[in-house]
């Protein structure tokens, strides 16, 4: 099968299509071109013209998908970030699975690869500059082992970028994605009473899932390549974001918060591992100038709509 260059024609392969973000992306893209989804989960209410293959990306069957369709772009969303899963399983899925995917992208000479990383790879630290550029070191794993996989995926994608100039590789590093997605920041803002850390109120960047989909859509265009930080509306202090939700919050001293969270975690009463507390303690903000200039990306959702999107369940 000859694979067409990245452009308007040719199919687009989305891994992890059954996540909330993947579904949203599929609904936006399927009107313009053929969308092929790969995910081991089911996709019950998929649009009719989307082809969904219930394949584990670590399996050989993935190769058949590449063989059967004229794919011009691959969007990799299929990163498992379930802090409960064992690190071995995590690693096998995220890193080994992604390496397999890269192998096929290279073998079939796919014109475009988009990897959804995260601004969390930089990690929240007291010594961070207010705005981290794409060249900043990826220190997210220093205190927070669970994110090391994601950093590894980001690095694999970067080396693929250099080794395979024939593929336009794009790495997107969006800030905290809010919306119907089930990720830590959205789950945190969905709590009935939001705990904060006494004496800490860092500036926070958030982005609406719809804007992330828009950024991916822009990145699919031919010629775009490189690493891009993706930021949403203007940053706000965490306290102001909580105020937008009109929900009570209680400040907890850091040492108490950490030990309580550790206990709750061991009793399986929470989904937040203790090191995540650093996100509501220190800044981890990104400079998105490159995305504005090269991608032409600008978040459309207002800060109020972005924050309140955590309560919409669509």
């Amino acid at each position: 099968m000859l694979h067409p260059p990245a452009g308007e024609e040719g199919a687009i392969l989305i891994t992890g299509i059954c996540g909330r973000l993947g579904k949203r992306l599929a609904r936006v893209l399927h009107r313009q071109r053929l969308v092929i989804g790969v995910d081991r989960r089911a996709f019950p209410d998929k649009p009719k013209d989307v082809i969904h293959q219930q394949v584990d990306i670590r399996r050989k069957k993935l190769k058949d998908v590449f063989r059967a369709h004229a794919i011009s772009a691959v969007v990799h969303l299929g990163i498992m970030h379930n802090p409960r899963a064992s690190s071995g399983e995590h690693h096998a899925w995220n890193v080994a699975g992604f390496a397999k995917l890269l192998e096929y992208v290279a073998h079939f000479r796919i014109g475009k690869l988009i990897v959804l990383s995260s601004a969390n790879v930089y990690g929240p630290q007291p010594e961070n500059p207010q705005f981290l550029s794409e060249e900043a070191p990826l220190l997210g794993g220093a205190n927070f082992g669970e994110i090391r996989d994601l950093i590894e995926v980001d690095m694999l994608a970067q080396s693929f970028f250099w080794k395979h100039p024939e593929t336009d590789t794009v790495i997107l590093r969006p800030v905290h994605i809010l919306g119907s997605v089930r990720n830590a920041p959205s789950n945190f803002l969905r709590l009935p009473t939001i705990p904060t850390l006494l004496g800490y109120d860092p500036m926070v960047q958030v982005i609406h899932e719809r804007d992330v989909v828009e950024a991916i859509r822009l990145a699919v265009r031919p010629g775009v390549r490189g690493v891009f930080n993706i930021a949403g509306p203007d940053p706000l202090p965490l306290s102001r974001i909580i105020k937008l939700l009109d929900r009570p919050s209680i400040p907890v001293p850091y040492s108490v918060g950490r030990s309580v969270l550790k206990r709750l975690w061991s009793l399986r009463l929470t989904n937040f591992p203790a090191p995540e507390l650093d996100h509501i303690r220190h800044v981890c903000m990104v400079d998105d100038r490159r995305a504005r200039e090269i991608l032409g990306f600008r978040a459309k959702q207002s800060i109020a709509d972005t924050v309140r999107a955590v309560d919409s369940d669509r």
Partner: protein, 314 residues
């Protein structure tokens, strides 16, 4: 993303605390509002009507959210400036010389550092607001470790202080801000009494920054800070234990009321703008020469100021 729904017990506990917080909320708000009104009337009676008028005229670049991207919040800054203005006008009865030499637009304020706690920064901030035309907010570069102290890590950004890394400084200067740098850093502030008004080694970062961004440098000499707390020595081992830059020995702390700084008279001298050109990436030796020029200017301003004063207290 898989999220097991098992945090109900924890969240119901949070709801209970949350409803208690909500019951106390109107009461707390009334107290806060009353305190705010008293504070506002105290401010205008103490600092004069021109304080509010000057506040209106300060050039600031706020985002759509009403907060500057570094976290400066005019609501907080008002009170911080009022307290600084109180210290400036009433407590330390500051004399200001040469304030008309401060240019509009971006500028690097380079000053000597003294006094065990950074009151000198507050005084320079108040001077730039009360005595310079048009009034300016000063953005100071602070130590990274301040970001890991609760409350301080919130207060500093709200009143315009920024973590001292080059990326932040460059960005602020591009915004046209007045940036305050103490090139002596922590070594300068914790001088013992026998070494008062003797400049310690200057860092080179500010000079590279000034050349790179073509920013004029205003040398500033602050006199009065060294006598506010008299330090007779430093306990390095204790400092290392507490992870502080220094641990000064200040006998006046043992006296009743000695915790307050002595009400010395402050004198602030602004020098003529200095312009530097060349390659900001030059060898340290080349940059050092230029830094030496600034240091020598400040040292001679200090020497002249000390010779001119008749008393430490008036």
């Amino acid at each position: 993303m898989d999220v097991p729904a098992n945090n109900e017990q924890a969240s119901s506990a949070l709801v209970r605390i949350g409803s208690a917080a909500r019951a106390a909320w109107p009461w707390a708000r009334r107290v806060r509002e009353a305190a705010g009104e008293t504070l506002d009337s105290w401010m205008s009676s103490l600092l004069g009507e021109d304080f509010a008028e000057r506040l209106q005229r300060v050039p600031v670049s706020l985002g759509s959210s009403g907060v500057d991207p570094f976290g400066l919040d005019p609501g907080w800054t008002k009170y911080a400036l009022a307290s600084a203005a109180f210290l400036h006008r009433r407590y330390f009865r500051t004399d200001v010389y040469g304030a008309n030499q401060v240019p509009t637009g971006r500028v690097l304020l380079i000053a000597n550092h003294s006094g065990q706690i950074p009151i000198d920064g507050a005084i320079i901030g108040a001077t730039m607001f009360m005595d310079v035309e048009p009034p300016r907010f000063v953005r100071a570069m602070v130590e990274k470790w301040s970001q890991s102290i609760p409350f301080v890590s919130t207060l500093f950004p709200r009143v315009g202080q920024v973590v001292g890394v080059p990326e932040n400084a460059r960005r602020l200067l591009e915004q046209g801000e007045a940036l305050l740098v103490f090139p002596e850093g922590a070594r300068g502030i914790s001088k013992t009494f026998d070494r008062r008004y003797q400049l310690t080694d200057f860092g080179l970062g500010f000079m590279r920054l000034a050349i790179e961004t073509k920013t004029p440098i205003i040398p500033i000499a602050v006199i009065g800070g060294e006598e506010q707390y008299i330090s007779v020595g430093n306990l390095d081992t204790v400092a290392k234990l507490l992870r502080m830059p220094s641990f000064p020995v200040i006998p006046q702390f043992l006296l009743p009321g000695g915790q307050l700084p002595l009400p010395t008279k402050y004198r602030v001298y602004f020098g003529e703008p200095m312009h530097f050109t060349g390659d900001h990436d030059d060898d340290d030796a080349v940059i050092e020469e230029k830094v030496w020029l600034v240091k020598a200017t400040i040292q001679s301003m200090l020497n002249r100021g000390i010779k001119a004063r008749r008393s430490v207290f008036w």
